[in-house]
């Protein structure tokens, strides 16, 4: 891990994004355990370096598409914690007026084109966002986040090929957290690097350490330059870990069945992206300890405010069922 080629303000920015995601997700986990949130939630803890590093290399105009595990992507792209939390509570003050929920948060104003609960469902749409950038001569690039599991859907293969043949500015970011639900990625494909699949579509396939936010930033910058320069799509595979459950509440649901070993969990803990980042910036005197503490306090405070606002916010009126229909 190193940051030599990365300006200090970007380092700080990346750190802030990672921490903001972590504190938000920790709180969501607590709220879920307390039975305060309806539906399912899939937390991004352990994978923060991917979204933070990638989004720090994007402009506000660039777009992203996300998955069922989408909170981190929204936050990394600059999403508003209050509107997010309100959406998780199903409140009218949420991003989608309570109609979307955890798996369907979107913020079109910041280029966050939506989280998608169907595995692989976002991939073709990201190609379309790249298509419109190319069509209008825009500098915009389209980033698609998806999991290792999604790489086995037909949509993955069709999307990579389509983006490649049309030379579109799309960056496919595969978050290989080693599992799709309870199935190890290695049981669902006979290759270790999903990035190898890029060759089949004639595009670059890069393997990244997804726990290293700087590396994610660096590789994304390369892919962005290529895309903006008319070079077409790139597949980046981020090797990462999901620290917690597939969906919150998993332990009770699995009734004692285990699918990951203690050693594996301990290894993931040791490679925790926030821990790595914190250690790096502290040990190299990049950001002073006092500053890190203030930052943490500010973020923790803003998450708490988001929760209070969400709780106090109004539930949707039943009449709103028939709003936002055909324009």
């Amino acid at each position: 891990m190193h940051h030599q080629d990365i300006p200090l303000e970007v380092v700080q920015d990346i750190y802030t994004r990672v921490l903001r995601i972590r504190r938000f997700e920790e709180e969501v986990g607590r709220l879920f355990r307390q039975g305060q949130l309806p539906g399912f939630v899939h937390l991004y803890i352990g994978e923060e370096a991917v979204a933070a590093g990638v989004c720090a290399a994007l402009t506000d105009a660039d777009t992203i598409i996300s998955t069922h595990r989408g909170h981190g992507h929204v936050i990394a792209k600059g999403g508003d914690l209050k509107r997010m939390m309100a959406e998780l509570f199903g409140k009218a003050t949420g991003y989608c007026k309570g109609k979307g929920g955890s798996m369907h948060i979107a913020d079109f104003d910041i280029g966050m084109l939506g989280a998608i609960g169907i595995v692989g469902g976002g991939m073709p749409i990201s190609v379309g966002a790249g298509l419109s950038a190319w069509y209008t001569g825009s500098e915009r690039v389209s980033v698609c986040f998806f999991g290792d599991g999604a790489a086995n859907e037909g949509s993955f293969h069709e999307s990579l090929n389509l983006a490649s043949t049309l030379t579109l500015p799309v960056i496919f970011v595969c978050e290989n957290n080693q599992y799709g639900e309870f199935t190890p990625a290695l049981h669902a494909m006979n290759i270790t690097d999903i990035a190898d699949r890029a060759a089949g579509y004639g595009i670059p396939g890069l393997v990244a350490d997804g726990t290293d936010a700087f590396e994610m930033y660096r590789l994304t910058k390369t892919a962005v330059e290529r895309a903006r320069g008319g070079g077409g799509p790139t597949l980046i595979e981020a090797k990462t870990h999901r620290r917690g459950s597939h969906a919150e509440g998993e332990e009770a649901f699995l009734g004692g069945q285990k699918y990951r070993s203690d050693e594996e969990m301990a290894a993931a803990q040791a490679k925790d992206p926030l821990l790595l980042l914190h250690t790096y910036v502290s040990e190299n005197d990049i950001l002073p300890a006092a500053k890190l503490e203030t930052l943490d306090a500010e973020i923790t405070q803003s998450v708490a405010e988001a929760v209070d606002a969400a709780r106090d916010g109004p539930s949707p009126e039943v009449e709103s069922l028939f709003e936002d229909l055909w324009v």
Partner: protein, 322 residues
């Protein structure tokens, strides 16, 4: 009789049929660990070959089921949520249902697609839709949506023994529901309805979770002195027209209740059939009670408002009586 959950009843049906016929096997995502507990424990008994975990590739898995079926096996393809059937649409609509007919009767497709159907857990649009109506629209696909553990087990066993493609939908909201399930072997035939409550004033047909909505409405109507006959269709394709028409001949009034998008819903089909074939018996226009015509919203208040409620059914029944 032992009381079991719906999920346990389904698990029993799968195990019994797999014991009975070694051509029967289960394939899908995380069926070994059991994303839905209905497949849990089967891997321990039947091993890797007969309980197959797959990558997340619905189209290929559905198609592989079809290929295995036309070459002599009897697959049960578990695609988890009903909405994931959309990813396998081509294989179901273009292939599974048509192959026998299209190839002039040379083959048969003994295959069960098993999914969770409908809303009730505030999971948002991608995990909360009822999808049965789409498959009713396809010729030569059987569709079943049982409401009780007893019917779940008996109908699933029939589906596995059926020589045609069957979509077996179990309702997300009924998974924990308990009911009597005999220890002795039994089957529930596909295409036969069950009259859950008899009455002479109005016929209410329902399926899956709306059976309970209809029964609740019937209790409410009874307090006003109106006796509703509640019919659980259980099978949607083919469906038991006879039982519905006979009931309407008696009551002269018909309310169709169905958790799905209203246009071309199961309720649409029942209502059209009653209007067509029992017009002379009808004393009032038929009524449909379905979901609101919108995508499934996440917020519990909105989700509840979308779904057919007992109050909606009572109101529809009153409309036929005034």
């Amino acid at each position: 009789m032992p009381r079991k959950t719906y999920v346990a009843a389904i698990q029993e049906a799968l195990a019994e049929e797999m014991r009975r016929d070694d051509r029967v096997f289960l394939i899908g995502e995380d069926v070994r660990i059991g994303v839905f507990p209905s497949t849990r424990g089967l891997h321990a008994e039947f091993g890797d070959k007969r309980v197959i975990d797959t990558p997340i590739s619905e189209l290929a898995v559905a198609g592989a089921g079809i290929g295995a079926a036309v070459t002599g096996l009897r697959p049960i393809v578990d695609l988890m949520f009903g909405t994931f059937l959309y990813l396998a649409f081509d294989q179901i609509a273009n292939q599974a249902g048509a192959m026998r007919y299209m190839y002039g009767g040379q083959t048969k497709v003994p295959l069960v697609f098993m999914v969770q159907n409908g809303a009730g857990s505030s999971a948002g649009h991608h995990h909360s839709q009822a999808v049965h109506q789409f498959f009713m629209n396809m010729p030569q696909i059987k569709v079943i949506l049982p409401s009780s553990p007893y019917d779940g087990k008996g109908l699933l066993k029939s589906a596995i023994r059926d020589d045609n493609p069957v979509i077996f939908l179990h309702s997300l909201s009924l998974g924990g529901k308990r009911g009597e399930v005999p220890s002795d072997e039994y089957l529930v035939p596909i295409g036969v309805a069950d009259v859950k409550r008899s009455g002479s004033d109005v016929t209410i047909s329902a399926v899956g979770p709306t059976v309970y909505t209809a029964l609740e409405a019937a209790e409410e109507l009874a307090t006003e002195g109106l006796e509703a006959e509640v019919i659980d269709l259980r099978s949607l394709s083919p469906w038991d027209k006879q039982t519905v028409l006979e009931s309407v001949a008696k009551t002269g009034r018909f309310v169709a209740v169905d958790e799905s998008f209203p246009t071309c819903s199961a309720a649409s089909e029942w209502a059209a059939t009653v209007a067509e074939e029992a017009f002379a018996d009808l004393k009032a226009p038929v009524q449909r009670v379905t979901n609101a015509d919108v995508p499934m919203p996440f917020s519990p208040v909105l989700e509840k408002a979308v779904l057919p409620s007992a109050a909606d059914v009572v109101a529809a029944a009153r409309k036929t009586l005034t």
